[in-house]
């Protein structure tokens, strides 16, 4: 068990290192931060001074080495734009993002899983078809399109809710719904197919054959088995708590991590972007790690072995 955990932890750290490296490469290749931040018509001396100040004139491998050692020492750099520590800029935005993503996660789980279970238990009924139609619509319509439709109806037409900004909890309602419905649809479909798969297994027939009432067959025999694939999907959703709101935050002008990221990328504000990517990948990797450990709790067959479907 300890070996399993150490192995997983090692892989998790490797994943984060790869993400950080990848981010470095892409951002350095895709444009010169000096030009983005200073403007292209700035005097060449000023640009050179900027590059020198931020170490952009050094060989790329040296920049990478410095950048990587700094990260290992917990030094995440400063925003090229306003000179404040990048980590501080990012940390400031986290509460706002969680204010959207946590309720959205609750909506996905609270709506998606029960809907999926219900649809599976009433397979091919009218309700099943209605639930699945909504589920497919929920995850095929992109969240920003849904967001715009919701704004059109509830903000512009009815005037019930604000169309953007962060004035009160009411401002969070539309973004939370636009993010949550799609995930609820995905979870509903996954839960339904997991339940159908489990309900067709011989041990469900065994449980019925020994006289377990149907509701207890579902609760005690089917759900614990169907939980395994569902946990995988929920794990991904937990993992994207930080990253999931990029588009929706922009649509609703919500001052969260997602919007910070959009601004930082377009400015080539390297330290901030890298800091956000580090945060996002750390969240994703941590949640993957928890999912792996949960597999062992849920399924005794996977204890002490590498779990399936968790490759990253």
């Amino acid at each position: 068990m300890l070996r399993f955990f150490a192995l997983r932890l090692g892989r998790a750290l490797l994943t984060i290192a790869l993400v950080v490296t990848f981010a470095f490469i892409v951002l350095r290749l895709s444009g010169d931060p000096a030009l983005m931040i200073m403007s292209p018509d700035a005097p060449p001396e000023a640009l050179a001074a900027f590059r020198q100040a931020w170490g952009l004139d050094e060989p790329i491998w040296l920049q990478y080495l410095k950048y990587f050692t700094a990260i290992l020492q917990g030094e995440l750099g400063q925003s090229m734009r306003d000179g404040r520590p990048a980590i501080q800029l990012v940390l400031e935005r986290i509460p706002a993002t969680l204010m959207l993503t946590l309720p959205a996660l609750a909506l996905k789980v609270g709506l998606g899983i029960p809907a999926g279970i219900y649809a599976a238990l009433h397979r091919n009924s009218l309700t099943d078809r209605v639930v699945m139609t909504f589920a497919v619509a929920g995850f095929t319509v992109p969240s920003f399109v849904l967001g715009l439709i919701l704004v059109l109806i509830f903000a512009v037409q009815l005037g019930w809710l604000p169309s953007g900004g962060q004035e009160s909890w009411r401002s969070a309602i539309l973004p939370v719904i636009s993010m949550g419905l799609g995930g609820a649809g995905i979870l509903a479909r996954f839960t339904r197919s997991a339940m159908l798969e489990v309900l067709g297994q011989p041990y469900i027939r065994t449980a019925s054959a020994k006289g377990v009432p149907w509701h207890a067959v579902i609760r005690k025999h089917a759900l614990p088995n169907a939980a395994i694939p569902t946990v995988t999907v929920v794990g991904f959703m937990v993992g994207s708590l930080m990253a999931g709101a990029v588009v929706v935050e922009s649509v609703f002008s919500w001052p969260g991590v997602g919007r910070l990221m959009v601004v930082a990328v377009s400015n080539r504000d390297l330290a901030v972007v890298q800091c956000i990517l580090l945060l996002v990948s750390a969240t994703m990797v941590t949640s993957n790690l928890i999912v792996d450990l949960l597999y062992g709790v849920l399924d005794p067959r996977l204890r002490g072995h590498a779990a399936p479907g968790s490759g990253h």
Binding site: R205, A207, S208, A209, G211, H221, D299, P300, R301
Partner: protein, 323 residues
């Protein structure tokens, strides 16, 4: 002889999506009796008992009558069926590894049946689980109750299934191909166990198998099924010594003899008719060497050919003559 049958099945029919799987089964099981149900896969052996206990999916259309001690089971309320299943009629299945819940400890799965049918919980239930494990011959029961199905062999899993079936103290145990998924030495052990338990508890046993040898060894009486109907039933010795239905004769001819000269084994020509292509009369007629035009006129009923020996064929006389 006025003992009432424990289970009485009359004209039991099952159809899946409009296609017949069972085409009228009549079968009585007496208290304490061991009955064998043999036939090729797909002939309806398992479906008969799954239908009787209401274990088929909702898409199956089941008609006819299944009475347990005079109580009708078909269409009975779920609460009634839940008392019967595992309590009065228990069932064990072919592949014990997948028939046990993979995420629950084996002891707990047995204890669940004890709670349901005998109201036992806590220490009493734990003690009874240990006793049942001992009874079905699981060594080191005290440790094994805490492990999971994947940590046991197929034979041990089947013993757990049997312990679970015994937990409700049933009057009838339906064993659906209980040894098919196990290797030969384990097969014999499980069959011995079933025979011993039947003697100890006095419960009736229905043994579903495609293996004539297994059935002959275990059962006093045998029913041969073909394409959703019983075509011959007789006491085991009689059936093997004097098979009457051409299908039964074909099955026996396909088995090697234990004594006597070596001979070429004979296969029955052709295959079982598909459910959507059932002959109007005798389902075996297309494969039968004795078939005539009359065989297609109507489904043959049973004729008595000896004490407790019946066969469903209109050519019983000529079929006896060497073909």
């Amino acid at each position: 002889m006025t003992i009432a049958p424990l289970v009485s099945i009359r004209d039991l029919r099952v159809a899946f999506h409009g296609l017949p799987a069972l085409r009228g089964i009549d079968l009585d099981v007496m208290p304490g009796e061991a009955v064998g149900l043999v036939g090729e896969s797909g002939c309806g052996k398992s479906v008969t008992w799954l239908a009787a206990l209401g274990l088929l999916p909702a898409t199956a259309v089941v008609t006819g009558s299944v009475k347990l001690d005079g109580t009708e089971l078909l269409g009975a309320a779920p609460a009634v069926l839940d008392r019967v299943r595992g309590g009065r009629v228990a069932m064990i299945f072919q592949d014990p590894a997948s028939a046990l819940n993979p995420v629950k400890r084996v002891g707990g799965q047995v204890a669940e049946a004890l709670a349901l049918h005998r109201g036992m919980t806590g220490a009493a239930a734990n003690a009874e689980v240990l006793r049942l494990f001992d009874q079905v011959g699981i060594p080191d029961a005290r440790r094994r109750v805490h492990i999971y199905p994947h940590e046991m062999s197929g034979g041990q899993n089947q013993r757990v299934m049997i312990a679970m079936a015994l937990a409700g103290q049933p009057e009838l145990l339906v064993a659906d191909e209980p040894t098919t998924a196990l290797d030969a030495t384990i097969q014999a052990q499980i069959l011995d166990l079933l025979r011993r338990l039947q003697q100890e508890t006095g419960m009736a046993l229905v043994l579903i198998s495609h293996d004539l040898g297994v059935v002959a060894e275990m059962c006093r009486r045998v029913c041969v099924m073909y394409a959703g109907r019983i075509v011959e039933q007789a006491p085991s010795d009689t059936l093997f010594a004097d098979p009457r239905h051409p299908y039964t004769r074909g099955l026996l001819a396909a088995l090697p003899d234990m004594v006597g000269p070596r001979r070429r084994l004979e296969a029955i020509p052709g295959g079982v008719p598909e459910p959507w292509n059932m002959p109007p009369g005798c389902a075996f007629a297309p494969r039968c060497g004795h078939a005539t035009a009359e065989c297609d006129a109507a489904i043959p009923g049973f004729s008595s050919v000896g004490p407790d020996h019946e066969a469903a064929c209109i050519h019983l006389e000529s079929a006896m003559a060497p073909a």
